[in-house]
Symmetry: C2
Subunit: 340 residues, 2 copies
């Protein structure tokens, strides 16, 4: 008798086996199907391509609508496409849903769509029995040209690895929103308020930097590191591309608030949920122009490593010493929430 | 203090108000956005159009994967488009999900995709806390040409109203699957088995008939009547198109098994969930060629009424007497399941 799966994503090897057995890959117009390091599907459509993504927001949050648009937009943007049209499926709890809750969710959807220039164009909204909280499943449609997309599997030997903004941005906001009383025992109200605003500043969205990167050129792969943090995001690109990596730990941008919160809770910043940062793998001679372009646009960026041959492995240099990049079976943020 | 909403779709007037306030309609490429009688969104894409639909399956069923593909494909087909690519979000219950359950869901998805020529091209699968059963949210992408789609709002005075296959097909299968012990108290095992097979024969899918209708030409509107049954489906077309209707009750196809089950449970067949039937509103002089075409393909079809001026109202002739078409605030099938 097999054990039941724990909460979270299905184990990658099980999902991989399932997709190999059941996903029909016969359509030549499906340019990018499901797979590790692939943030969205890419479908040939006329002279352009359609990029489609579906991700749910299943944890309880006041910001569920805003979150769903941004999370899905990030994955479409990380494929090099422009997120354009959003459909939502909203499942609401019985005996808890009133007009105010529905209004709050839709106003969050509308805010995020407006911020990103996305059109909310349909979906399905219902009260579903047996739920204790709203669930929101987003479906983002994006577009680009036939040669205008990248995937997570395009990294090549010698490429440079850039990271925007910093790690643990999403984790910082989540902890501040969900654990405010605990955070207040050690930190000031001002600190807490700064952390709460992390969703907007530095911001969860990577849409702008992804677009600027595609415009600048030379991009080989992009990826939106989320669950499992930067370490998992890097590993996914390396595995999908069949390459090694050398990461320089002291170049990884870590802002003061995430650093302080990770220290307080004993979390490894490399393994906490990392939406807000964009990984960009770029041809070596295009790394500098891209960094300049992002800097001019006010988006902090750091070159954090380089692509190595596969036999090098996926490694990190910390204080002069090179070791294997740590692997995280589950997101480090789990430590914060399981204690309650 | 407003009351909480009951289980099911949000009240149409509330959703309408919400969408007016929050749905951004600024994009001229959004050709059909959300609205009554609109089964899916239509987006201009190159020389063609993209038709996108998202619907969840939230009731417990062995067939959740197969169902999700078919329900979403029907809505895309009812817009006149060909359903082509499917993405799924699968939310699975904690402490109940094993590899066998995941396999069963994916094999249902794969079966339905194969039957309909659809490519399964991505999605998201996770174990979600606080669920007592799997939820599956489908996202179907379809395509057609820029002048090759219809909506539920195109009915015009004098048009004919056709209905394929018959009503209560979905309800018949659902009752047989969920209430087999009760059904067996009155009916034979053979009868029960026939009812269970209703999902496949006559079948839940309307994709073939929708395609044949579009090929034959003259289609003004199509709609996939689901919750609230045929009466609600007709009403939605009439309201969306701003027209009246005269329906002939004795021409509405009702197969023997649905008729017997509706009588047994005291359900009005006009108000039970009706997937499997397709409503086609067609120019008067194209009604006959379309009926012949569908008949040749082995798809039963009946002309059940005609489009009238709006001041006529939405009416039905039964045994020679004309009355208002009944309205159903909730699906008649609710009576079967609330008793337990």
């Amino acid at each position: 008798m097999p054990p039941y799966y724990p909460v979270g994503k299905l184990p990658a090897e099980d999902l991989d086996r399932i997709l190999r057995r059941y996903a029909s890959g016969a359509d030549p117009r499906l340019l990018v199907g499901p797979g590790i390091g692939r943030d969205a599907a890419v479908i040939s459509f006329g002279p352009g391509v359609l990029v489609s993504k579906t991700d749910p927001i299943t944890f309880a949050t006041e910001e569920i609508g805003w979150y769903a648009v941004n999370i899905n937009a990030n994955d479409v943007a990380a494929m090099g496409a422009t997120p354009r049209w959003f459909l939502s499926t909203i499942l609401l709890p019985e005996d808890k849903t009133d007009a105010e809750l529905v209004d709050r969710i839709f106003s969050g959807l509308a805010d995020a769509c407006r911020e990103l220039g996305i059109t909310l164009c349909g979906g399905h909204t219902e009260i579903t029995h047996g739920l204790d909280r709203p669930l929101l499943i987003g479906q983002m449609l994006g577009e680009t040209t036939a040669d205008g997309y990248v995937s997570g599997d395009g990294a090549r030997l010698g490429d440079r690895i850039l990271l925007t903004k910093g790690i643990a941005i999403e984790a910082t906001a989540l902890i501040a929103m969900e654990k405010s009383d605990e955070v207040r025992t050690r930190f000031s109200d001002e600190f807490l308020e700064t952390c709460r605003r992390y969703l907007r500043q530095p911001g969860l969205s990577v849409v702008r930097e992804a677009r600027l990167a595609m415009e600048t050129g030379g991009v080989r792969a992009m990826h939106d590191p989320t669950e499992g943090g930067l370490a998992s995001g890097l590993r996914e690109i390396a595995v999908a591309s069949g390459v090694g990596m050398l990461i320089e730990e002291d170049r990884i941008p870590l802002l003061p608030e995430p650093e302080a919160l990770c220290a307080f809770y004993g979390l490894d910043p490399l393994g906490v949920i990392a939406s807000g940062a964009l990984l960009i793998v770029v041809e070596a001679d295009r790394a500098k122009p891209l960094a300049v372009r992002l800097g001019d646009a006010g988006i902090p960026v750091a070159e954090i490593g380089s692509v190595q041959p596969p036999e090098f492995g996926i490694r990190i240099r910390s204080k002069g010493e090179i070791t294997d990049l740590p692997a995280f079976d589950r997101d480090e943020i789990g430590k914060v929430f399981e204690a309650t």
